[in-house]
């Protein structure tokens, strides 16, 4: 187990190196610069800017600096937001995205597993079909449609909830974005749970459990769910990583100061240190969450041994 974890952590290093290098290369390929704007700069002003931010150094010097920053996990200062370090921005934006992402995922787990389990246990009944229709809707309605619809209903017609803005955690302003964000995950989790449960319910050990005379509730909760939720677990790693590190669309729709919002603007602004910082951060999060999931597998599924 320990050897497995160490091996996985070591693999993260070359992957990060590749991801950061590729990102850096792509940024350099994109024409324009952080100071490119409709109003052109005087040549001297441009020269001063390039000097100030070390852009007139040869590419290998700049690349070395990027790698060195990566190694220390200190990405320097933002080009767009004078005087703000990338780490400062990351640590400020992460809690917003994390609060939103975790709330949404928690909601998705509760609702999704409930719906999925009910659907599996009552296979081919109206409850099954109803649940799957809901799941289908969740998958088909993109969140940039669902979000505005919810805003229209709860924010602008009933005036129950604020239509946007961030007011800390927890607050009423988190409710609409969390629901919007969770919709698609509810759908996926419900479907995964249903198919997982259907398979498990037909398996030998469930028959054994029933044969031992256990109550149906115990059979489902203690035995079936544990196996039936394995697909949900493996889905959760990357899903959580993406949710926690920012969701561009929902953060834009609800004007939340999260990582996703920063990321998309950093790209438009050609804010190289910020882009690299966020990409590296997301990469670490994805790799880390996957590792966590693999470890969790070992505990949940007795058949898996490392």
């Amino acid at each position: 187990m320990l050897r497995f974890i160490i091996r996985r952590i070591i693999v993260i290093i070359p992957m990060l190196f590749i991801i950061v290098s590729a990102t850096w290369g792509l940024i350099r390929l994109a024409p324009g610069n952080f100071y490119t704007a409709e109003k052109k700069l005087a040549p001297a002003v441009e020269q001063n800017l390039r000097e100030k931010y070390g852009l007139n150094k040869p590419w290998y010097t700049q690349y070395r600096k990027v790698l060195w920053n990566m190694a220390r996990f200190d990405f320097g200062t933002s080009l767009k937001y004078e005087g703000q370090s990338v780490n400062q921005i990351l640590w400020r934006a992460l809690p917003v995205s994390a609060a939103l992402g975790l709330s949404a995922y928690l909601l998705a787990l509760i609702v999704g597993i409930t719906i999925g389990t009910v659907a599996a246990l009552r296979q081919n009944s109206w409850m099954d079909y109803g649940s799957m229709v809901i799941a289908m809707l969740g998958i088909s309605i993109p969140n940039f449609v669902l979000g505005p619809l919810l805003v229209l209903l709860f924010g602008l017609t009933l005036f129950w909830l604020p239509p946007a803005l961030w007011n800390g955690f927890p607050s009423k302003s988190l409710i609409l974005p969390a629901i919007t964000l969770s919709a698609i995950y509810i759908a996926y989790i419900a479907r995964l749970t249903r198919s997982g449960m259907l398979e498990v319910m037909r398996s030998d050990y469930i028959r054994t459990a029933r044969a031992k005379g256990l109550r149906e509730r115990d059979v489902v909760i203690r035995h079936a769910l544990r196996g039936g939720l394995l697909p949900v677990l493996s889905f959760s790693g990357p899903a959580l990583a993406f949710l926690v590190t920012g969701t561009v669309v929902v953060e834009r729709v609800f004007a939340l100061p999260g990582l996703g919002n920063y990321f998309i603007n950093a790209c438009f602004n050609r804010d190289e240190p910020l882009i690299i910082g966020i990409v590296a951060f997301i990469a670490v999060a994805v790799l880390g969450f996957n590792l966590l999931v693999d470890i969790a597998y070992g505990f949940v599924d007795p058949r898996i041994r490392y």
């Binding site: 052109k40 002003v45 001063n48 005087g83 004007a255 050609r270």
Partner: protein, 651 residues
């Protein structure tokens, strides 16, 4: 699968639109809630996240709005017209040809930490803005100040062993010295330079620095060796004279800003520039505190360190969310400031802004926040604010290659667009000239060519696109050599399609459209690396028609068309030497007419500001720049005194 997907989406969108229709059709004077906020606080959307709260760093209007609360300048924007009105300078004089300005600073003005604000602080501010280390993108706004450009680009003077500097007049080709500004000539006395000044105080002592400013222009060479050698190789006489002499870098102390005494600031320019006053309210010239900046360096704008000079001071900054400012008791006119606090929200999504406004979570918003498709709904409401804007949209024409090299083709393309129809559809004003219409009172703006498809065809025939019978033949026109290039933001796509349809309908030409990502597009523009036509626009830096004509003042930079004419430049120079405003305007108009004759661009529309404020917000006006002097803004709780419609804009 994907079909049913888009079907469901479509139905939902339809439902949303219907629902939106129902909600608004409930007849109301105003859009959404109109309950004034419980506290004496204005909640305002200022635009995208400010790049910095250091007034000398950011270039955009969103930052300008926040800087107007936090910092004061010599002059402030008038709330109704945005022309400069006194702020920290209580009065000022220009010399006889507007190439030098003397500002009299108000006594008793203070920074938020209690430090007095003096002329020295303005000297520091301007020198700092120009310093190469700060690398301010707005530095070129102060290139009109003597030695400003030289200091900013790290240029050098040339000094011989006796301490004498080489002078420009000894090396220039015979130049008309009569045209030199007053500041390039020695002056006997200050009183003579300025003429009779109203009030008992006359401008101010002659000083050694003043005489230095008025001494003959020194030779200025590029600081870096490569460009210097290039410059010297072009002038053999100069090269010989420079050899063996000492190169002296231009210092901050050489820049033409002088604190004559604590309350008198003198700014010497390289050319007559009557519009210089209009630049003074720009955030770049708003005064900053030297002690704070030197103590904290880059971190001086952090809320715990920042020291400001405006009617409000910083209380909190939550990036990508909000900036909160509160009334500053140290402000010289604090008694006149009506609001306790302003919350600036950093938002740039129009739908979100409109939603928040409707729900009563914000009281006002920046310009262009009302999306075009909403206008039919919003325009009749009494809290809709609209005004012609000091901003225009136009298409650049590449005058260096392809069919658009021919002025007749350029004129034909321009004449074949029905701009009135475009403007009606966009709810803006049509534009035929190079400066915005209806913004500059008294400016005799020339008219460009009107919509005339027949004449357009005749011009194309003259340009050789005709059949054997001499009639216009659209097939002869090489449409593959021309593209209408634009970045897919805002309504650019729809406007491009409209114009494309006009050319198709009126000339039978199908000009292909091409989209480019914004920054990629900007690079292509400045390199003239586009085929034929490229979308562009300009927002005024200061309120003067010269700011729009200045685009073609140099062949590179913001020009983007390749058209440049020395006679045009001479006309503008001559205009700026005039002290009589009307005479100056006439010359500027002449230059504009000359450029229109060459048609380097296709003017499209004068923008409209299009924003909203709640009726209880008073003292905020739809001015041409949508920049509001915050000290005049207040919350009116008596509904009988609310603004119903655009407030009275007369003085």
């Amino acid at each position: 699968m994907s079909r049913s997907n888009s079907g469901a989406t479509y139905v939902l969108l339809l439902l949303a639109v219907i629902a939106a229709g129902c909600v608004v059709s409930a007849k109301s004077e105003f859009f959404g809630k109109t309950n004034p906020p419980p506290q004496n606080v204005l909640r305002y959307v200022s635009g995208s996240e400010p790049e910095s709260l250091d007034p000398q760093i950011p270039t955009g209007q969103p930052e300008a709005r926040i800087c107007m609360a936090l910092y004061s300048g010599l002059t402030e924007y008038d709330p109704k017209t945005t022309v400069p009105i006194p702020d920290l300078a209580e009065r000022w004089e220009a010399n006889k040809d507007s190439s030098e300005f003397t500002f009299h600073i108000r006594h008793g003005a203070r920074f938020s930490n209690g430090d007095p604000i003096t002329a020295r602080d303005f000297v520091y501010t301007i020198r700092r803005g120009l310093s190469p280390e700060l690398a301010a993108r707005n530095a070129s706004l102060s290139y009109y100040i003597k030695h400003g450009e030289g200091y900013n680009e790290g240029a050098v003077f040339v000094q011989d062993s006796n301490g004498q500097f080489l002078l420009q007049k000894d090396f220039a080709e015979a130049e008309d010295t009569a045209q030199a500004p007053l500041t390039a000539k020695p002056v006997n006395s200050v009183a003579e330079e300025y003429g009779a000044v109203k009030g008992e105080q006359t401008p101010d002592a002659d000083t050694a620095f003043h005489r230095f400013m008025h001494s003959p222009d020194r030779v200025v060479l590029p600081g870096d060796e490569k460009s210097r050698n290039k410059a010297l190789n072009a002038n053999a006489k100069l090269k010989a004279a420079v050899a063996g002499k000492q190169l002296v870098p231009i210092k901050a102390e050489d820049v033409g800003v002088e604190a004559v005494d604590d309350y008198t600031l003198r700014i010497t320019l390289i050319q007559p520039a009557p519009f210089f006053l209009s630049l003074m309210p720009h955030q770049f010239f708003r005064v900053v505190n030297q002690r704070t900046i030197e103590k904290f360096g880059n971190a001086w704008t952090d809320p715990q360190n920042i020291v400001t000079s405006g009617p409000f001071k910083l209380a909190a900054h939550r990036p990508y969310d909000r900036v909160v400012v509160v009334r500053d008791p140290m402000y010289w006119d604090a008694g006149a400031v009506k609001l306790d606090s302003i919350t600036f929200f950093a938002l740039d999504d129009n739908t979100t802004i409109m939603n928040l406004y409707k729900a009563g979570e914000i009281d006002g918003m920046l310009n262009h926040s009302v999306p075009a498709p909403w206008l039919d709904l919003i325009q009749p409401l009494k809290d809709f604010m609209d005004a012609p804007e000091a901003a225009i949209e136009f298409y650049l024409l590449n005058t260096t290659t392809g069919p658009t090299k021919d002025v007749r083709v350029r004129k034909a393309l321009n004449m074949a667009i029905d701009k009135q129809a475009l403007a009606n559809w966009r709810h803006v004003k049509p534009l035929t000239a190079l400066t915005p219409e209806g913004i500059f009172p008294g400016y005799p703006q020339p008219k460009g060519d009107q919509f005339d498809p027949q004449k357009a065809k005749r011009l194309l025939v003259e340009a050789g696109y005709k059949d054997s019978a001499g009639n216009f033949d659209s097939k002869k026109f090489p449409v593959d050599q021309v593209e209408l290039t634009f970045n897919p933001a805002g309504a650019n796509q729809q406007v491009a399609e409209f114009v494309q349809a006009q050319w198709k309908q009126n000339l039978g030409l199908t000009i292909p459209l091409k989209t480019m990502e914004f920054k990629t597009f900007l690079v292509a523009q400045s390199k003239l690396d586009y085929k034929g036509i490229a979308r562009s626009g300009w927002v005024a830096d200061y309120m003067d028609p010269f700011n729009f004509l200045w685009l073609y003042y140099t062949p590179t930079g913001n020009n983007g068309t390749g058209w440049w004419d020395q006679r045009y430049v001479d006309l503008l120079d001559e205009a700026n030497r005039q002290t009589d405003q009307q005479k100056r305007y006439e010359l500027i108009a002449k230059a504009e007419a000359m450029a229109l004759e060459a048609q380097p661009v296709i003017p499209l529309t004068t923008n409209a500001t299009r924003w909203m404020k709640k009726p209880y917000v008073k003292g905020m006006y739809p001015n041409p720049q949508t920049l509001h002097a915050w000290k005049y803004v207040y919350i009116e709780r008596d509904p009988s005194k609310w603004d119903r419609g655009v407030p009275d804009m007369s003085h």
